[in-house]
Symmetry: C2
């Protein structure tokens, strides 16, 4: 499986990092999606030409593996590759490399196409994917299942969707969900752990002014290498909008 690649060199900016100087997941995902947008522009598949047809690409799933998180002022390269597509989804890889081409972050993403008027997913059309030289496949690539919250009383945090959370698709941008996930975790846990892997699945879009409850539980199991898992649900009133697992390694 392989398709067209596109690369962008980028210096990590201070405001893309948390207070410890490590690039945040929302910043990383924003940048990666920007690079796939540049690739689309470069082959004439602009966002504008999609929206003229009343359509937009939307993210339905990410599997993010962080081998080493980029730091403030690091010079990194973001690469994207259109991998394959079937009737419902397209699969795109993102990779971040350091200056010596060491792989820092790998992301496998699943995109779908949304009708901007009905807000429903529609079939992926051949002419949308052909320019990316991705392989047509019949199967659906199954990403690892998100493990649900098991606790009866998960930790909860409330958020209200803000004006500046809304993107050009007039819904909450996929990167904002990471804010809700991460900002629900205990401060002491956050400063003593680093994110190793995130599996996230978007179920329903969220709009301006919606009231969000971010729920989470922490697995009692600790792997041999010190990795712990947190399970997350993003609720939009009585509907689950998103589920996720985050795997954390201890800093010690």
């Amino acid at each position: 499986m392989s398709g067209l690649k596109y690369r962008l060199s980028h210096q990590v900016k201070g405001y893309e990092c948390d207070f410890q100087g490590e690039m945040t997941v929302p910043s990383l995902i924003n940048l990666m999606i920007h690079v796939s947008g540049l690739q689309s522009d470069s082959i004439g598949n602009t966002e504008a030409s999609m929206s003229e047809q009343g359509l937009s690409w939307v993210i339905v799933q990410y599997n993010i593996d962080i081998h080493q998180i980029p730091r403030r002022r690091d010079q990194i390269t973001i690469e994207t590759e259109a991998m394959s597509y079937n009737r419902f989804f397209t699969y795109r890889a993102f990779r971040a490399y350091d200056e010596n081409e060491h792989l820092l972050v790998e992301v496998l993403s699943t995109f779908s196409v949304m009708n901007l008027e009905t807000r429903k997913l529609v079939r992926v059309q051949k002419e949308m994917t052909e320019p990316y030289e991705a392989d047509e496949i019949r199967s659906i690539i199954r990403q690892p299942k998100v493990i649900p919250i098991t606790e009866e009383n998960p930790k909860e945090q409330l958020f209200t969707v803000r004006y500046l959370d809304i993107d050009s698709n007039q819904h909450v941008n996929n990167s904002k969900y990471f804010d809700w996930l991460i900002n629900t975790v205990d401060f002491n846990f956050l400063i003593s752990h680093q994110i190793k892997r995130i599996q996230i699945k978007y179920e329903k879009e969220v709009g301006f002014g919606n009231m969000i409850t971010s729920k989470m539980s922490t697995s009692s199991e600790i792997a041999e290498d010190g990795t712990r898992m947190t399970a997350h649900q993003i609720w939009n009133e009585s509907t689950i909008a998103c589920v996720a697992n985050i795997f954390w390694k201890s800093r010690n």
Copy 2:
């Protein structure tokens, strides 16, 4: 008055824009502060060398004039210039230009130096400012006074300081306040107006977990050109952390 200048070319990214495709104020300010950081690095005045002395630059005031807001994919140039300094403050200009060197945005900023341990402002030392070739001045440059909220019952919005709001100074980054200001304004007002000018004054720093009340009132006066003013206060429990005025022009 003039000092060392530094310039960076930048393509405006989709995630730096609101849903209407216009660059957001937090994105613009983040980028400008990044450019001043690059200037500091280029002359060896790194953030690290400041923090080794237990010190950090902090923003105390901005006066932002937006002639034309950059849009998604625009190629802009950000320029910064170290203007002048006195014993308490340094004055730095930021400008955004389009590809034809038309001035889009002008910012006059006032910086001060904070002792990271006592969290108090300290005197600006000559060796901090000399490399920037800024003029030493005796006077304090007075920026326009922020007009206070006059209404008895201002509009209020609550926010909680999130983990990802904290910067390397271990307080809320100055750009985050714009989120609190703008996200308090009515949706219908936001989509029918554009920001023309912002005057903002930071009074007290805000830390992780603090409970923020963003208060605002809208002036009943409408200028001949349709400009309206909103007055803002950011409260951290019973203390005012920040005051601001935003001048808006109607989109019609």
